[in-house]
Symmetry: C2
Subunit: 116 residues, 2 copies
Amino acid sequence: MDTALAFPAGEDQLCCAPSERPAIDAAHATSAAQVLKAFADPNRIRLLSIVKAGDGGEACVCDLTEPLDLGQPTVSHHLKILVDAGLLKREKRGTWAYYSVVPGALERAAALITNL
Amino acid sequence: MDTALAFPAGEDQLCCAPSERPAIDAAHATSAAQVLKAFADPNRIRLLSIVKAGDGGEACVCDLTEPLDLGQPTVSHHLKILVDAGLLKREKRGTWAYYSVVPGALERAAALITNL
DNA sequence: TCAATATATTGACAGTTGTCGATATATGCG
DNA sequence: CGCATATATCGACAACTGTCAATATATTGA
């Protein structure tokens, strides 16, 4: 259970102008890559997109397995990766598990790229 | 040579508000993942960062192999992946190869995430 | 032309990842 | 309780990826 360090906290404000900022160190690169790795698969991209576009910004596994044309275990696997990366959150209601995008998570992930 | 489709062109303006946008299709997800995959490795993150922070926004391979503690072939390999993804461009001057970030590429890559 | 340097390419190998089928674990309902 | 449904976990396997050593390909300079 490598449960989500996800977004290291703090680190929101920038020390100086982008053109003057020094290169990031190995530790930051590793944690950034850990999050960005979650976007490195087409099916996970689609999962994020479908969940975000879903009614109420959420979707359950049963809504996701068909449009992706993947087996249910594989979908669960990808969802776990997205949750561990801090991008999705899981809420169980009855028999169903509803996934939704963690507020601000996509923007923070995008900032990892623009703030390089 | 799977030379960079990179950023598919067009697709810059959005059809509607983010909350109303439908989920992206498989083809878009695949091309987005192709670019984002380039960010899925800590050493490539550092390469981008070091190049961007370098003098004149560029760096040659010889400047990159030492701080990353990687062999020269491995650095060349990662640089090729970043070039193929449309993130870096290569300019050969004499014996040296200078790499620099393609203008706007990081912002476009980040937009692939926020526009999900 | 020949040697030295910088970079790219190749081939190999271990480690990781995406996928599936089978199975386990809930949860709700008769 | 016992069955059906929804989801998660496990084990296996092929495909992909990151790394290195060895080698190839410029390019410069003597």
